[in-house]
């Protein structure tokens, strides 16, 4: 006989549950289960009144376990853990049973069966509560320092923000110079200020700061530890440096798509990419010339290396910045040489938001926009010594045009930057497109599944410098929120190793998707060790262990077995 004292609350959910599940019958069926001392139904378990009643019961009946059979734990697990905590009951002695999503809503045609299923689920919950133990959150003191990887606009902006917030920052830049792509550009839209000027401004500010240290020719080679307290090893100009930081912001940026030889005539004299064209514009003085020859006609081809739905080149996404950048370049070229003719061969014009004005401006300046279809891509060839671009213009209902050009500009997109050493060290998840992946694109846009590691800028997805700076500030804010408190508390529902049973075969290390397992020596014996700050309690390691040496707290074998027995028991 169990000496546990468990309270069970079965919720009507105002009819959401009780319209299909006979909650009173469920209560009767479980009230004499071993260890149950309180069994009640309630109209809304989450209501204030109901929560107060639970607190009273816990105190007066000296409950040491609690089950609420209501909705999904996603909705109210934390609510009822909070109830337990307020009443002085360890929150990990609380078990939630989901009657709404798993019984009433799932079986609206079968109220009888839904009720029976509910009885079994509640019995299983009680079985789990009977074996529940008090657990304490894992508390980690955080280090008030951060590492920013990449010194482009995103990295520099994040560093500045962190410094403002009183967090010491190390910036590791792989190349010899800081500033990234923005630092290489002249006039940028929409304000006409030069990219290098903006970067200089950021750098000037950063130089004044005592809590910022920038390393160039620096690469992150390894990372250990966990959220709030990482040890990272950098290789700076060949020399190893070890840093202790609380969080890491990855802002490694993109790489411009480089067309293959022959792709739209690339490699021919006069066929250039958009970044090459922008550089050419900056070098020209007074007139647009290419290799000393004046340029009279320019043809742009959009979406080169982007939006390839055929899947052959693996860039199914729109690179987002290039339409804006190309129409802006068109205006710069017009200002340089107003007499030139510019033909923009595009698929869809994506000058979103305020950038529509750039598009309008280019049109007003006389640039011509010719829309082509994905099925009939433009062709670039050379005959009679001149470049010719052939295109089917959808806006004149498919008229085939032959445009002579002195310069063909391939409006190239963005690719994820190859970062093998970094990827090996951080093991950040990467999307199908090769860019780093956030937890949730809307609700958790700069966090990754690796706690304490954030992403910012174009390393995450194609974006322009303004958007990169915005995401950098978001990552800095998340970092500060993490580090300023001084400590983090993590769920104690983690894997544990039975040191006696383990014979270090390494199976669990292979199975763990979060790199939480390592090899350790204990009393002269090699065993598996779990980094409890990294472990997410996913349980992937448990079934692979040939010696049954692993269990996840809160989901121990005993508990799971008892639950299965309760589920399978006769009514």
């Amino acid at each position: 006989m169990s000496d546990r004292r468990i309270g069970v609350y079965i919720c009507h959910c105002g009819g959401n549950i009780s319209d299909y599940v006979a909650v009173e019958r469920v209560r009767e069926a479980v009230e004499h289960e071993e260890g149950v001392v309180v069994a009640k139904t309630t109209m809304f378990a989450c209501s204030d009144a109901s929560q107060e009643e639970m607190i009273e019961d816990i105190r007066e009946q000296k409950l040491d376990g609690m089950v609420v059979a209501s909705c999904s734990p996603t909705l109210h697990l934390l609510t009822f853990r909070g109830v337990a905590e307020r009443a002085g009951l360890n929150p990990y002695r609380y078990v939630q049973v989901n009657l709404r999503e798993q019984c009433s809503w799932a079986h609206t045609d079968l109220p009888q069966e839904a009720t029976e299923k509910a009885v079994h689920l509640v019995k299983a919950g009680i079985a789990k509560a009977r074996l529940s133990q008090s657990l304490e959150k894992i508390r980690i003191e955080t280090v008030p320092r951060a590492l920013v990887v990449g010194a482009g606009v995103a990295g520099l902006r994040a560093a500045l923000a962190l410094s403002d917030l009183g967090i010491s920052v190390f910036v590791a830049e792989k190349s010899e110079r800081v500033g990234g792509w923005l630092g290489e550009f002249g006039d940028t839209y929409p304000h006409g200020r030069s990219g290098s000027g903006l970067v200089d401004e950021l750098l000037k500010d950063l130089e004044q700061r005592e809590n910022v240290q920038i390393y160039t020719e620096a690469e992150l080679v390894s990372k250990s530890g966990s959220v709030g307290d990482f040890t990272v090893e950098l290789r700076v100009k060949g020399e190893p440096i070890t840093l202790n930081v609380g969080s890491i912001i990855v802002a490694t940026g993109f790489t411009p798509y480089q067309p293959e030889e022959g792709e739209y005539g690339y490699g021919e004299d006069g066929v250039v990419t958009l970044p090459e064209f922008v550089r050419l514009l900056e070098q020209c003085d007074g007139q647009l010339t290419y290799q000393g020859r004046p340029v009279k006609q320019v043809a742009y081809i959009y979406c080169v290396g982007s939006r390839d739905q055929s899947g052959e080149r693996g860039h199914p996404y729109c690179s987002r910045y290039c339409c804006n950048a190309a129409v802006h370049a068109s205006s710069l070229a017009h200002e340089l040489s107003p007499e030139i003719h510019q033909f923009h061969l595009y698929r869809d014009m994506r000058t979103y938001g305020k950038f529509e004005l750039l598009y309008m401006n280019a049109r007003k300046q006389g640039a011509l926009f010719v829309r082509f279809n994905e099925e009939a891509l433009p062709e670039v060839s050379r005959n009679d010594g001149r470049l010719h671009v052939k295109v089917k213009d959808m806006l004149t209902a498919g008229e085939e045009l032959d445009i002579e050009a002195d310069l063909v500009v391939l409006v190239t997109g963005m690719e994820p930057r190859p970062n093998e050493t970094l990827n090996d060290a951080l093991k950040l998840p990467v999307g199908l497109d090769g860019f780093f992946k956030e937890i949730h694109p809307k609700l958790r846009p700069v966090e990754t599944v690796i706690d304490g590691v954030f992403i910012a800028g174009a390393a995450q997805a194609p974006r322009n410098s303004a958007e990169s700076a915005a995401s950098a500030l978001a990552a800095a804010a998340k970092t500060a929120a993490l580090l300023k408190k001084g400590y983090v508390e993590l769920e104690p529902l983690v894997a544990m190793v039975d040191a006696e049973a383990c014979a270090w075969c390494g199976e669990c290390l292979e199975a763990c998707p979060y790199s939480a397992v390592s090899q350790a020596s204990r009393d002269g014996k090699e065993i598996a060790e779990i980094n409890t700050a990294v472990c997410k309690g996913c349980g992937a390691c448990v079934p692979v262990c040939p010696r049954d040496a692993l269990q996840v707290k809160g989901y121990e074998d005993q508990q799971v077995r008892a639950m299965i027995e309760a589920l399978g028991s006769a009514r």
Partner: protein, 100 residues
Amino acid sequence: MIKVDAAFIERVTSDPEFNATACMNCGVCTAVCPMEIELLPRKLFRYAMLGLKDKVLEHTESVYQCLLCKMCEANCGADVHIADNVRCLRGYISKEIFGL
């Protein structure tokens, strides 16, 4: 395949009155035109801007059918001076083709 004739573009679009490049191809002008000139003005302008001289000349009649009533212009969302643009084309055709 029609060759884009840059000289023709220059000739037509160099007139400061010609501002059809701002056209966004919405088609409102065609819809409101009382003359039901199917081709005018958006396609015609496009031919002119693309330097498709032959296409423009093929539609000489349309160019002269226009009443210059500006119904289209009043409704154009891109501020295209449609009637003036038609005048530019007439100017070109009268001079270069009819030798007036």
